[in-house]
């Protein structure tokens, strides 16, 4: 089963994942941080789909499961952000140090 786009797709996946990591490290806005996490999950999905060309549709099933987890994570994460915003009137992670001790 030929997979002509496997290499390029994996390279794109790596670049997108690295961009997501850079975003998590650079940004202090909690919502944008979450979007960068979604970007990383998407990059992994791309790698799974690329390998599914070789190994059959089990990879597609994995992508669906990852999407479910991402949706659950987004729902809970945004609820936490809402609760924090009500508490501190800000979503800046520098202001969130309640567990600092």
């Amino acid at each position: 089963m030929p997979a002509p786009l496997l290499g390029p797709a994996l390279a794109l996946s790596g670049v997108l994942f690295s961009l997501g990591v850079a975003g998590v490290l650079l940004r202090r806005n909690a919502i944008i941080l979450f979007m960068c996490v979604e970007l990383m999950l998407n990059a992994v999905n791309l790698a799974l789909v690329a390998f599914a060309q070789l190994h059959g549709t089990a990879g597609h099933v994995m992508v669906l499961l990852v999407m479910t987890v991402a949706a659950a994570e987004a729902a809970v994460g945004l609820a936490i952000i809402l609760a924090i915003f009500r508490h501190t009137q800000s979503v800046d992670l520098d202001n969130i140090n309640l567990l600092h001790g």
Binding site: L12, A22, L25, I32, V76, L78, I81, F85
Partner: protein, 174 residues
Amino acid sequence: MTEVVFWIFAASAVVTAAGCILQRNPVVAALLLVTTMFSLAAIFVLLNAQFVAAMQVLVYAGAIMVLFLFVIMLLNLGRDPTDRRLAVPIGATVVVAGLLAAELLALGRYTPDRLAREALGAALPAPAAAATTGNVVQDVALPLFTTFLVPFELTALLLLAAVVGAVVLAKRKL
């Protein structure tokens, strides 16, 4: 032709993703991320994953990003002049992300075939051709409801927990 289309959407995905992490306005960042996800959906079609592409548009671009936009607008987060974008020294970030990208790119050149050729001196036996029925939905649904039935049921539990958790966290007074 397929390659040209792939690179067009790949460039679009990388540019919009970079814009997303550099953008100060959260609404614009979210819209750029939606564009990234649409580009990825197009790439999924090129990789013969039509059903996943449809789910990408419906679930990611349609549901998750709308949730993000909803929260951004609910909290009325505009362009934040105090957003110190470079909270971590940019040098450290460039080094970490650059190293990661270099590693992943180096890995990306190692397709299973090439690995097998270098390790075993022979090409892999052709992987058992996935029994494709020609029906894109059936190809995904069959393993989902047979081999992966238990993980599938567990996601139902996970979603229930997420719903209860989100309600408990977001509600002012239970």
